[in-house]
Amino acid sequence: MGFYAVQSLNALSFSMLLLLTGLGLSVVLNLMNFVNLTHGSFFLLGAYVGVYWLASGAPWWLAFPVAFVAAGLAGFLLERFPFRQFYARTHLMQVLLTYGLSVIFADLMRWGFGAQILSAEIPEALRGVVFIMDMPFPIYRLFIIGFGAALAFALWFVIDRTIWGAVVRACVTDRGFVETLGLDTRRIFTAVLVISAGLGGISGALGAGILSAYPGLDEEVLILALIVVVAGGLGTFRGTVLSALLLGFAMTFSKVWVPEFSNVVALAVMAALLVALPEGLVARKVRQV
């Protein structure tokens, strides 16, 4: 009983990491119809920032906002050039551009931060465990669950329930019309990209406590995030949440029951899902242009 309770918490904490990473990617894909494969680089950048910040002795909780700002700044600069020039291009061109950039960033970060594995010092306050029916569960992971849920909720609220969110969504549907209302859509897109990059950075800083930071993490994370976004269904927030949960639970419980085949089983579940529901878990009802 305690065993399954803790395994469910394990699944939940991993799902939260997937969700945070996936959200950053899906925000840009859904709202701007832009495929951004440099998202893994933002994650890794955030992870490095987190590692260095937590080791520096400065207040630990600032590590996450700082990672958000660092990655957001990178996103801001990239949006100016060259992302902006590619919004109107086909997805294939966007993939080529952003994949190429991600390779460059991987090399730059290897050069700047070194090739060795850096692991984050988890702050003293979050280092303990709680015992759930005699089974240990780390407090840091509880923190990730809480933080992730709060962040995801805030994002959903802003996009779905506020006027700013409505403006962004309107931009996607008909950019020209929003312009006629006197709104600068370029600035809106910049803001969305910065938020997306920042989300990547903050999830990197959070994830560094579990995953460490090292060259190659960017790719590993990007692939998981892509699975989450695609299986969740393009253009839906709820879908991304559901598919992050599904992938997290599938990967966790396949490790519990059939550790040898955990990747195969987890990915087979996601593949089966896509075959059954090609539009994703939650399909968008609007017409895709």
Binding site: S13, Q116, V129, S212, Y214, G216, T252, E260, S262
Partner: protein, 400 residues
């Protein structure tokens, strides 16, 4: 990515100049070939999953050559380093390039066993003098052994076998759980450990496998917490090892359950320096230890140069240099007769940083001292401390 040893170009010019002068005044032709620069090719992983290991290996070799003034047996050395990205096909391409295009006298390096197995036919066909610095699949010393391929490194068996002996004697006769990365090296290490442990009468409990590149060990660690084993044998390397050890501590298993593994799990430079206290108390069997008596001078020099204690790969690069030096010096720099080089190298053991290193004449595999290391608090943080040495461990070789 081609890199040349910085000292060598200068000394190459010097030697070339000297050769021209002696040639002009009519020195014998033989002296001229002996004075030609010695070209050493090294293939290692400078991108891909083993990047950090590859950079350490290159640094070890460069350190060795620098200490020798860029010269071996009087011949200036030109080192050409190539990147195999830890991919077999890329490794084959780079070996072909070094042998066919650069005309190197010696090829060396390699981290991935898959690359070592893939290039085996290339170097065998070319009858190239080859020194494999680190590929450790057992088959490399068995079915895939080759007359001119020397292996100044361990096999998985040498580590798994000794870990099994140590575990049975010191850790417990039962209550063993194994958890390892699910790929060739992990499978091989665990099966060698289990065979050795069971042979003595030990009982192995649950065996867990985690895919290569597992990000979250949480579910597996919860399973371990529920199993309550006496001790764990484990094989992980690189980022997997770091995450495994950190998460062991996160789940409060560190310190509660004894952990023993193959050297890579607690590699000094790659893993221990990253996980720090989470490594304390861990045991491993390895052909390398920064605290082995044979490594004392090297450990100090490496720390000065790289600001880190040496792990297996940095040491392997250096040791490869030492073995090449022994081979070249024993034939006075004349590598034209490869049979003679081989005979000279097999005739007597080489004193290396790993320890004394005789070669097995059946397969050119090094016979090595295997250290049992325990991670203890040292002056500069946790360090691999030798607590026992298994002398002259020899792979069963081609008969196994």
């Amino acid at each position: 990515m081609t890199e040349r040893f910085p000292l060598s170009r200068r000394s190459f010019l010097a030697t070339a100049g000297a050769t021209a002068v002696t040639g002009a005044i009519g020195a014998p032709a033989l002296a001229q070939t002996a004075n030609k620069p010695l070209k050493i090719g090294m293939v290692t992983s400078l991108s891909g999953p083993f990047t950090a290991l590859g950079e350490s290996m290159r640094a070890g070799m460069q350190m060795f050559l620098a200490e020798n003034g860029g010269k071996l047996a009087g011949r200036a050395v030109e080192l050409i380093v190539e990147d195999d990205q830890a991919k077999p096909d890329e490794g084959v391409r780079k070996f072909r390039k070094l042998l066919g295009q650069d005309n190197v006298d010696i090829v060396s390096g390699v981290i991935s066993s898959a690359v070592a197995l893939a290039v085996r036919d290339v170097v065998t066909e070319a009858k190239a003098l080859t020194f494999i610095s680190a590929g450790s699949a057992n088959d490399l010393a068995r079915k895939a052994a080759s007359p001119f391929v020397f292996r100044p490194t361990k096999t998985n068996w040498m580590l798994g076998h000794t870990a099994g002996q140590w575990a049975f004697e010191k850790l417990g006769k039962s209550g063993c759980l194994t958890i390892a990365a699910d790929y060739a090296a992990g499978r091989e290490s665990v099966s060698d450990f289990v065979a050795s442990y069971q042979q003595q009468g030990g009982k192995v409990g649950k065996q867990l496998w985690a895919p290569l590149g597992t990000t979250d060990f949480g579910p597996l660690l919860t399973t371990i917490a529920a199993e309550r084993p006496e001790f764990i044998f484990s094989f992980f390397a690189g980022s997997d090892a770091v995450r495994f050890l950190r998460q062991m501590r996160e789940y409060r298993l560190h310190g509660k359950v004894k952990l023993i593994g193959s050297g890579a799990l607690f590699d000094q430079e790659d893993v221990v320096s990253a996980v720090k206290e989470a490594a304390l108390g861990g045991l491993n069997t390895c052909n390398q230890s920064p605290t082995a008596p044979s490594s004392a001078a090297f450990t100090k020099a490496y720390q000065a140069a790289r600001n880190a204690m040496p792990g297996e790969m940095g040491t392997a690069g250096y040791v490869t240099g030492q073995v090449i030096k022994a081979a070249v010096e024993r034939v006075q720099g004349d590598l034209s007769n490869k049979e003679k080089v081989k005979e000279a190298l097999l005739a007597k053991e080489v004193e290396t940083v790993f320890g004394p290193m005789p070669f097995d004449p059946r397969n050119n595999q090094a016979i090595l001292d295997i250290y049992v290391n325990e991670i203890k608090e040292g002056a500069g943080g946790p360090v691999n401390q030798v607590i026992h040495t298994y002398k002259a461990v020899r792979d069963p070789g081609p008969v196994a």
